[in-house]
């Protein structure tokens, strides 16, 4: 019995079928496939966006006018032409102004940099779509634009645990921050409780931005640690008795540390 020999347009394959095929391709193959026609380009992009991207570590740093991201990808390798598995391909970053650079540290599979400009945050949203981060280290100036931008870019990303390192803050605000954090965790419907590790170096500027940022992420946080640095007076000054009671009553896993 013979199958009909009709060749359907490849773009008419169901999305889940296409996604399965793409998961076996490498970055170079994907780039070539998506440049065959406009429909295929959209099709490949949509398929890639829907694939979960397992990222063991992402170091995100904005320093001056440059932004740098370094990745350790689960099962990844240093060859940019090879596949970065589980749907992670940094092609979308390259198309959006990022430049691939060889990393002097071989443990990182991808090292890309970009000029900081108005389209910075848009340039990473696609690449972070459905990302599953084991670790996320963030170092950036705490501005409203950055806070909103990163929150937007990470909107479909997931983590397992949340760690906040606050390097500068106003003492009067820390209690409010923790109360808000705990409060939002108790009330939120955390349908995606995946925040495994995020070390967030919050620096300077308006403290309410830090609160805003943490609150947005806190909806995804099953447990947290709060570290303080350069704090001379210890927890007594940071937390009131009410805050400690709130923490004790919280069903969440947490730990508090500080450096004198």
């Amino acid at each position: 019995m013979e199958l009909e020999s009709i060749s359907p347009p490849v773009s008419l394959l169901p999305m889940d079928v296409m996604t399965a095929i793409l998961s076996y391709l490498n970055t170079l193959d994907l780039e070539r496939l998506r440049s065959t026609c406009t429909l295929m380009r959209d099709y490949v992009d949509a398929s890639i966006s829907s694939l979960p991207k397992k990222i063991e570590q992402c170091n995100f740093k904005i320093e001056g006018e440059r932004c740098r991201m370094r990745f350790v990808i689960e099962g990844g390798c240093n060859d940019p032409k090879e596949v970065l598995p589980n749907g992670f391909t940094f092609s979308s970053f390259i198309r959006n102004g990022w430049t691939y650079e060889k990393d002097e540290d071989p443990k990182f599979h991808v090292n890309i940099t970009r000029q900081v400009d108005d389209s910075l945050w848009d340039s990473i949203s696609e690449g972070f779509s459905q990302a599953l981060f084991d670790g996320f280290t963030l170092e950036m100036p705490l501005t409203m634009e950055n806070v909103s931008g990163l929150s937007g870019a990470l909107r479909s990303a997931r983590f397992d645990e949340f760690r906040v390192a606050i390097s500068r803050y106003e003492e009067a605000e820390i209690g409010k921050l923790l109360s808000s954090l705990i409060g939002s965790r108790q009330c939120a419907n955390r349908s995606f409780p995946h925040l495994y590790y995020a070390l967030i170096e919050l620096r300077g500027e308006a403290f309410e931005l830090a609160v805003d940022f943490i609150l947005r992420l806190s909806h995804k946080v099953p447990s947290f640690e709060v570290e303080t640095r350069t704090q001379s007076n210890g927890w007594e000054d940071l937390l009131t008795l009410d805050h400690l009671v709130l923490l004790q009553q919280s069903p969440c896993q947490y730990s508090l540390e500080f450096e004198m």
Binding site: P9, V10, T36, G75
Partner: protein, 167 residues
């Protein structure tokens, strides 16, 4: 015990219960219709309609299932050392699929997807990926009968943007 499967073009296939169970979709339908291995009457009096599969495709699916009906469930190897997601296609499966053109593979893959036969689905995914792997854009377009609607300017722009990985 045997199970009756009816395709979209009204062809009836009588298959071994184990083969029927290899399809998650058929398993669910049998469950919904209270068909069980120990109840011959339920198997004789019912047939499973498969409106998304033609007889030609069904015959191929059954051929694959016949070969794999005694397979132990195996864990997929997620990544090899180079990071690629890999699925090992056995020699028999390579032989089974080697003469299928892309169009035929698509039909078979569509059926494997609908019937939820993971092993066959993965075999075909990997086979099609292997057909794409290492080919240039124009070769891929020719193989898949893709009409390129990009202008010369767009092509130039793409070449510029993909130069980093083509070098």
């Amino acid at each position: 015990p045997n199970v009756k499967l009816v395709t979209s073009d009204n062809e009836e296939f009588v298959v071994d219960f184990r083969i029927a169970k290899m399809s998650v979709t058929v398993s669910r339908l049998m469950e919904a219709m209270n068909m069980s291995e120990t109840d011959d009457a339920s198997l004789l009096s019912n047939s499973i309609p498969l409106p998304n599969v033609t007889k030609a495709v069904m015959a191929r699916v059954i051929e694959w299932c016949e070969k794999h009906k005694n397979d132990e469930p195996k864990e997929e190897k997620e990544n090899d050392k180079r990071g690629r997601t890999t699925h090992v296609v056995s020699d028999w499966d390579k032989e089974f699929l080697k003469n299928d053109e892309f169009g035929r593979l698509c039909q078979l893959m569509g059926a494997a997807n609908y019937l939820e036969i993971k092993g066959l689905f993965n075999d075909i995914s990997q086979t099609i990926a292997n057909m794409i792997h290492g080919k240039k854009s124009d070769e891929i377009a020719e193989m898949f009968n893709i009409h390129c609607d990009l202008t010369e300017a767009e092509k130039k722009e793409i070449r510029k943007k993909t130069a980093w990985c083509e070098d």
